[in-house]
Symmetry: C2
Subunit: 109 residues, 2 copies
Protein backbone atom coordinates (compact mmCIF):
# COMPACT_ATOMS: atom_id res chain seq x y z
CA UNK A 1 0.00 0.00 0.00
CA UNK A 2 1.14 3.46 -0.88
CA UNK A 3 1.33 5.62 2.22
CA UNK A 4 2.45 8.65 0.22
CA UNK A 5 -0.70 8.51 -1.87
CA UNK A 6 -2.73 8.37 1.29
CA UNK A 7 -0.89 11.33 2.78
CA UNK A 8 -1.77 13.34 -0.30
CA UNK A 9 -5.43 12.44 -0.13
CA UNK A 10 -5.78 13.02 3.58
CA UNK A 11 -4.64 16.60 3.10
CA UNK A 12 -7.67 17.39 0.98
CA UNK A 13 -9.91 19.78 2.84
CA UNK A 14 -7.76 19.61 5.93
CA UNK A 15 -5.35 22.15 4.47
CA UNK A 16 -8.23 24.56 4.13
CA UNK A 17 -9.03 24.20 7.82
CA UNK A 18 -5.39 24.66 8.83
CA UNK A 19 -5.07 27.71 6.57
CA UNK A 20 -8.15 29.45 7.94
CA UNK A 21 -7.11 28.79 11.53
CA UNK A 22 -3.68 30.21 10.77
CA UNK A 23 -5.08 33.37 9.19
CA UNK A 24 -7.41 33.71 12.16
CA UNK A 25 -4.45 33.46 14.53
CA UNK A 26 -2.23 35.90 12.60
CA UNK A 27 -5.10 38.30 11.75
CA UNK A 28 -3.25 39.25 8.53
CA UNK A 29 -0.70 37.25 6.55
CA UNK A 30 0.57 36.92 2.97
CA UNK A 31 1.21 33.90 0.73
CA UNK A 32 4.87 33.04 1.17
CA UNK A 33 4.65 33.84 4.87
CA UNK A 34 1.98 31.14 5.18
CA UNK A 35 4.25 28.64 3.43
CA UNK A 36 7.16 29.56 5.70
CA UNK A 37 5.09 29.29 8.87
CA UNK A 38 3.65 25.90 7.96
CA UNK A 39 7.08 24.60 6.90
CA UNK A 40 8.44 25.42 10.33
CA UNK A 41 5.43 23.75 11.90
CA UNK A 42 6.30 20.62 9.89
CA UNK A 43 3.92 20.90 6.92
CA UNK A 44 5.27 21.43 3.41
CA UNK A 45 2.71 23.28 1.35
CA UNK A 46 3.48 24.11 -2.28
CA UNK A 47 2.61 27.36 -4.01
CA UNK A 48 0.60 25.42 -6.57
CA UNK A 49 -1.65 24.35 -3.72
CA UNK A 50 -1.78 27.57 -1.75
CA UNK A 51 -2.44 30.26 -4.35
CA UNK A 52 -5.41 28.59 -6.07
CA UNK A 53 -6.83 27.94 -2.60
CA UNK A 54 -6.45 31.58 -1.52
CA UNK A 55 -8.09 32.66 -4.77
CA UNK A 56 -11.03 30.32 -4.29
CA UNK A 57 -11.56 31.36 -0.67
CA UNK A 58 -11.51 35.01 -1.74
CA UNK A 59 -14.12 34.39 -4.45
CA UNK A 60 -16.29 32.54 -1.93
CA UNK A 61 -16.18 35.54 0.41
CA UNK A 62 -14.20 33.80 3.15
CA UNK A 63 -11.07 35.91 2.77
CA UNK A 64 -10.40 39.54 1.93
CA UNK A 65 -7.03 40.43 0.36
CA UNK A 66 -5.16 43.71 0.52
CA UNK A 67 -2.09 44.65 -1.54
CA UNK A 68 0.71 46.17 0.52
CA UNK A 69 3.97 47.65 -0.74
CA UNK A 70 6.59 47.61 1.99
CA UNK A 71 10.09 49.03 2.21
CA UNK A 72 11.57 45.78 3.40
CA UNK A 73 10.62 43.80 0.34
CA UNK A 74 10.70 44.04 -3.43
CA UNK A 75 7.47 42.72 -4.88
CA UNK A 76 4.24 43.95 -3.26
CA UNK A 77 2.59 41.47 -0.91
CA UNK A 78 -1.03 40.39 -0.85
CA UNK A 79 -2.18 40.15 2.76
CA UNK A 80 -5.24 38.09 3.59
CA UNK A 81 -7.75 38.47 6.43
CA UNK A 82 -10.89 36.57 7.36
CA UNK A 83 -14.21 38.23 6.52
CA UNK A 84 -17.12 38.06 8.98
CA UNK A 85 -18.55 35.21 6.88
CA UNK A 86 -15.14 33.56 6.97
CA UNK A 87 -15.10 33.61 10.75
CA UNK A 88 -18.51 31.95 10.83
CA UNK A 89 -17.38 29.33 8.34
CA UNK A 90 -14.26 28.62 10.37
CA UNK A 91 -16.38 28.16 13.47
CA UNK A 92 -18.59 25.59 11.72
CA UNK A 93 -15.56 23.80 10.34
CA UNK A 94 -13.89 23.56 13.74
CA UNK A 95 -17.14 22.20 15.19
CA UNK A 96 -17.34 19.57 12.50
CA UNK A 97 -13.73 18.73 13.09
CA UNK A 98 -14.38 18.11 16.75
CA UNK A 99 -17.09 15.64 15.77
CA UNK A 100 -14.61 13.79 13.57
CA UNK A 101 -12.23 13.53 16.50
CA UNK A 102 -15.02 11.91 18.51
CA UNK A 103 -15.58 9.34 15.74
CA UNK A 104 -11.84 8.83 15.62
CA UNK A 105 -11.68 8.02 19.32
CA UNK A 106 -14.48 5.50 18.97
CA UNK A 107 -12.68 3.50 16.28
CA UNK A 108 -9.43 3.53 18.21
CA UNK A 109 -11.26 1.53 20.87
Amino acid sequence: MDIEKWKLQSRKGLIELLLLNLINQKKSIYGLEIIEFLAEAGLDLSEGTLYPLLTRLTKEGTLKPKWVTENTSGHPRKYYELTAAGKNALHSMNDHWQQMIVVFDSVKG
Copy 2:
Protein backbone atom coordinates in the same frame (compact mmCIF):
# COMPACT_ATOMS: atom_id res chain seq x y z
CA MET B 1 -18.67 29.47 1.31
CA ASP B 2 -19.93 25.96 1.04
CA ILE B 3 -19.28 24.05 4.26
CA GLU B 4 -20.87 20.90 2.85
CA LYS B 5 -18.36 20.83 0.01
CA TRP B 6 -15.56 21.18 2.52
CA LYS B 7 -16.94 18.37 4.67
CA LEU B 8 -16.89 16.13 1.62
CA GLN B 9 -13.31 16.97 0.75
CA SER B 10 -12.00 16.69 4.28
CA ARG B 11 -13.20 13.10 4.38
CA LYS B 12 -10.81 12.09 1.62
CA GLY B 13 -8.15 9.82 3.00
CA LEU B 14 -9.40 10.30 6.53
CA ILE B 15 -12.08 7.68 5.94
CA GLU B 16 -9.35 5.20 5.04
CA LEU B 17 -7.62 5.86 8.36
CA LEU B 18 -10.85 5.50 10.32
CA LEU B 19 -11.72 2.30 8.48
CA LEU B 20 -8.38 0.63 9.11
CA ASN B 21 -8.42 1.58 12.78
CA LEU B 22 -11.92 0.15 13.09
CA ILE B 23 -10.96 -3.15 11.44
CA ASN B 24 -7.92 -3.28 13.70
CA GLN B 25 -10.15 -2.81 16.74
CA LYS B 26 -12.75 -5.37 15.66
CA LYS B 27 -10.22 -7.88 14.27
CA SER B 28 -12.82 -9.04 11.73
CA ILE B 29 -15.84 -7.16 10.36
CA TYR B 30 -18.01 -7.09 7.23
CA GLY B 31 -19.25 -4.26 5.01
CA LEU B 32 -22.67 -3.35 6.33
CA GLU B 33 -21.48 -3.86 9.88
CA ILE B 34 -18.86 -1.16 9.27
CA ILE B 35 -21.53 1.22 7.99
CA GLU B 36 -23.72 0.48 11.01
CA PHE B 37 -20.90 1.00 13.48
CA LEU B 38 -19.80 4.30 11.97
CA ALA B 39 -23.39 5.53 11.74
CA GLU B 40 -23.79 4.97 15.47
CA ALA B 41 -20.49 6.75 16.05
CA GLY B 42 -21.88 9.72 14.10
CA LEU B 43 -20.40 9.21 10.65
CA ASP B 44 -22.61 8.42 7.66
CA LEU B 45 -20.66 6.38 5.15
CA SER B 46 -22.36 5.29 1.94
CA GLU B 47 -21.94 1.89 0.30
CA GLY B 48 -20.71 3.59 -2.85
CA THR B 49 -17.80 4.87 -0.78
CA LEU B 50 -17.11 1.81 1.32
CA TYR B 51 -17.12 -1.07 -1.13
CA PRO B 52 -14.74 0.41 -3.70
CA LEU B 53 -12.46 1.33 -0.80
CA LEU B 54 -12.48 -2.20 0.62
CA THR B 55 -11.76 -3.58 -2.86
CA ARG B 56 -8.82 -1.23 -3.36
CA LEU B 57 -7.34 -1.97 0.06
CA THR B 58 -7.62 -5.69 -0.66
CA LYS B 59 -5.85 -5.30 -4.01
CA GLU B 60 -3.11 -3.31 -2.31
CA GLY B 61 -2.55 -6.10 0.21
CA THR B 62 -3.75 -4.13 3.21
CA LEU B 63 -6.85 -6.23 3.86
CA LYS B 64 -7.68 -9.91 3.50
CA PRO B 65 -11.34 -10.87 2.96
CA LYS B 66 -13.07 -14.13 3.88
CA TRP B 67 -16.55 -15.19 2.78
CA VAL B 68 -18.67 -16.50 5.62
CA THR B 69 -22.16 -18.05 5.40
CA GLU B 70 -23.94 -17.77 8.69
CA ASN B 71 -27.25 -19.11 9.98
CA THR B 72 -28.39 -15.78 11.26
CA SER B 73 -28.26 -14.06 7.91
CA GLY B 74 -29.37 -14.59 4.32
CA HIS B 75 -26.65 -13.42 1.98
CA PRO B 76 -23.10 -14.57 2.77
CA ARG B 77 -20.92 -11.92 4.40
CA LYS B 78 -17.45 -10.87 3.41
CA TYR B 79 -15.37 -10.38 6.55
CA TYR B 80 -12.21 -8.29 6.36
CA GLU B 81 -9.06 -8.47 8.45
CA LEU B 82 -5.80 -6.52 8.38
CA THR B 83 -2.81 -8.28 6.82
CA ALA B 84 0.65 -7.94 8.40
CA ALA B 85 1.44 -5.29 5.77
CA GLY B 86 -1.84 -3.62 6.64
CA LYS B 87 -0.88 -3.36 10.28
CA ASN B 88 2.42 -1.74 9.34
CA ALA B 89 0.63 0.69 7.04
CA LEU B 90 -1.84 1.59 9.76
CA HIS B 91 1.00 2.25 12.15
CA SER B 92 2.64 4.67 9.68
CA MET B 93 -0.66 6.37 9.03
CA ASN B 94 -1.37 6.89 12.71
CA ASP B 95 2.12 8.32 13.14
CA HIS B 96 1.59 10.76 10.30
CA TRP B 97 -1.75 11.67 11.76
CA GLN B 98 -0.16 12.56 15.07
CA GLN B 99 2.17 14.92 13.22
CA MET B 100 -0.82 16.60 11.62
CA ILE B 101 -2.37 17.11 15.06
CA VAL B 102 0.83 18.88 16.10
CA VAL B 103 0.61 21.21 13.09
CA PHE B 104 -3.02 21.75 13.93
CA ASP B 105 -2.21 22.82 17.47
CA SER B 106 0.39 25.30 16.21
CA VAL B 107 -2.09 27.10 13.96
CA LYS B 108 -4.73 27.23 16.67
CA GLY B 109 -2.13 28.99 18.83
